[in-house]
Symmetry: none
Subunit: 198 residues, 4 copies
DNA sequence: GATGAATGAGGATTCATTCAT
DNA sequence: GATGAATGAATCCTCATTCAT
């Protein structure tokens, strides 16, 4: 009985994984809108209904792909958040850049218009923004207005992410190291200056 | 003959203007995808076919709305590009922030998933990026690698634009002046630092 | 499991048949262009999407109607191709004339401008032409140039088909027997003479 | 006053000619359905309205192109109809084949689905059929049933026309002389045999 | 849990034709 | 006679989602 259950569970997990992989591949290749639920199911070797059984709808699948794909990265960044500002921000930029290089497809999906439309992109950006907000408040103290701090943090995240997106999409020959250098310096310069005046 | 021609031309221009206005209003209100060609035409008081006659298709209308809407801003920014770096970048940030405040609708359209999908957003970002590239090269000279300069410039533009977009969408109570201050300082800090190391 | 599958398959086949019948009826009645996909689906008692699910598009349905409708005829003609030339050609003409009389609607569809445009008519004509080519080569041997033989065969097929089409469309009072006599004699005369000179 | 009128008339005739030529060229190149009234007008250097002024509608233009294009041919064939059967039919086939070779575009238009749909093709076929009917009745006398004679004549015309159409469309390397030989023999054989039995 | 045939609302686009100038 | 901007009815086709088996 137990082994049967386990077999079922394993099969269920396996099916889920195949849908996730097929979805990630197709979304990255053809864009989210141009990918149909039917095609994902076909490539995963299951029926369309199964996709809906597991993820509710197409956006549900997209959301899970994005969230699970980014989860490890965000946790690593949270761990890196403990050091000095300099060390920490360098580590975080490195993590982002390396992640983007190794998961180009996922990054494309993250900035797909459809991901933006359903708010999945914004969710990730929000979580990234919190790191910057904490750092900024850590420097400036309670004197700073929260909405201004949030705006600044958000803008810095926008800078790094936009740079990374540009890189993977248009200039993949640029080395990761150089990209990280540039983005780290941009972020540090921006942070220092804004922390000074806020 | 001449007056006839002019009457027709006037009517044509008038029709075009009405379509542009109806489109801009609806795209901003309901989002681009949710707005149908038929509804734009109805609000403009013309037949659907007329929209296609003037703009080829829905994307054509969108593109023209964006390009014409942003043209004045970009020209003003080009004019502002002549002063010292400090003066110039402050003016450019002010122009952007003020423009966004007065054309909130257009900004929403500019970052609409559909605008992104057809590349119209990227076109505007490109033109903005050129200003930053010029400035960066003006500081660093020919020593800097063009692709690295472009990446840095693009990232800075992404920072400012993302900040502005966040502001008009989520925190419109923040004053334009404060937003400009923050974004100007972020940009300046980023630029100084990156110019130093490039 | 098996019966489930069969039930589904049976339903699928049934749906397909209904679409085929509705399409054949409407195409013959009103012409292909004047028949909308929506109307075919309505008469078949299914949704429009179902038509597209089964046949890809309207032309797909048209093609299948024509191919399946003509398949039996062409196979019967292939079987008849074995006897002496005289016997065989008489049988083939009879098959064609009788088929046309019993499937007037299908013949109308076969010569519908839309069928011509998508090449379905030409496909059928091609298959009919091969019979004549074989016969002609059987008589003249390898001496004859293939392109000339094909042209002659094609022209003969054009003669018979055009005659039949004219008959069912303009002069259906003429008896099938008389039509077959005339066409058979025309074909035989043409064949004899051309075989002699080629 | 008179010269003004003449100038106007000349201009009118000139406009008409340009529309006819542009229409013939485009219909042949892209097919009738795929050619829009607006494009014909543009290529003719006039406004769309002018096309409608001269020809009523798109089909009107098509009809005139076909009729005027074929008129000379039909008159030449009528003149050739006087000799002995052998001489006459050879001349007529030659006229058709030579005409097709020199007016490939027009022939394509003549067999365009749209020409068929509006009956223009049938009109030409009818006129050609009359020649054959006359010849057949001349041979068989009043004994033959008119509907049977017409069917036979029509079928022969279908044979020649189909052969020619096939030639110009698929096998233009075949020499006109060879085509005429084949079609002449086919027609003669068919005619002799059918005249014998009718 | 899995299946996959069926759904049908929904929108973009075309283009022959008109008519006020 | 010529113009050409405007018309708008008319269809095609898509595809996320459901639900009976």
């Amino acid at each position: 009985m137990d082994s049967t259950l386990n077999a079922r569970q394993r099969s269920r997990i396996e099916t889920r994984k195949r849908l996730l992989q097929a979805g990630a591949r197709l979304f990255a290749q053809k864009g989210v809108s141009a990918t149909t639920a039917a095609e994902i199911a076909r490539q995963a070797g299951v029926a369309v209904g199964t996709l809906y059984l597991h993820f509710g709808d197409k956006s549900g699948l997209l959301r899970v792909i994005l969230n699970e794909g980014v989860e490890n990265l965000l946790q690593a960044m949270a761990l890196a958040a403990d050091g000095s500002d300099e060390r920490c921000s360098r580590q975080q930029v490195d993590l982002l850049v390396n992640f983007a290089e190794k998961n180009r497809g996922l990054c494309m999906v993250l900035f797909d218009p459809e991901s933006i439309r359903i708010g999945a992109t914004a969710d990730v950006m929000d979580r990234l923004t919190r790191f910057q907000v904490d750092r900024l408040l850590g420097r400036c103290g309670a004197a700073v207005r929260p909405d201004q701090a949030y705006l600044a943090a958000r803008a810095m995240v926008g800078m790094v992410m936009h740079g990374i997106y540009w890189w993977i999409q248009h200039d993949p020959k640029l080395e990761a190291r150089a990209v990280a250098d540039i983005l780290y310096n941009l972020r540090t310069g921006a942070m220092d200056k804004v922390a000074e005046v806020l």
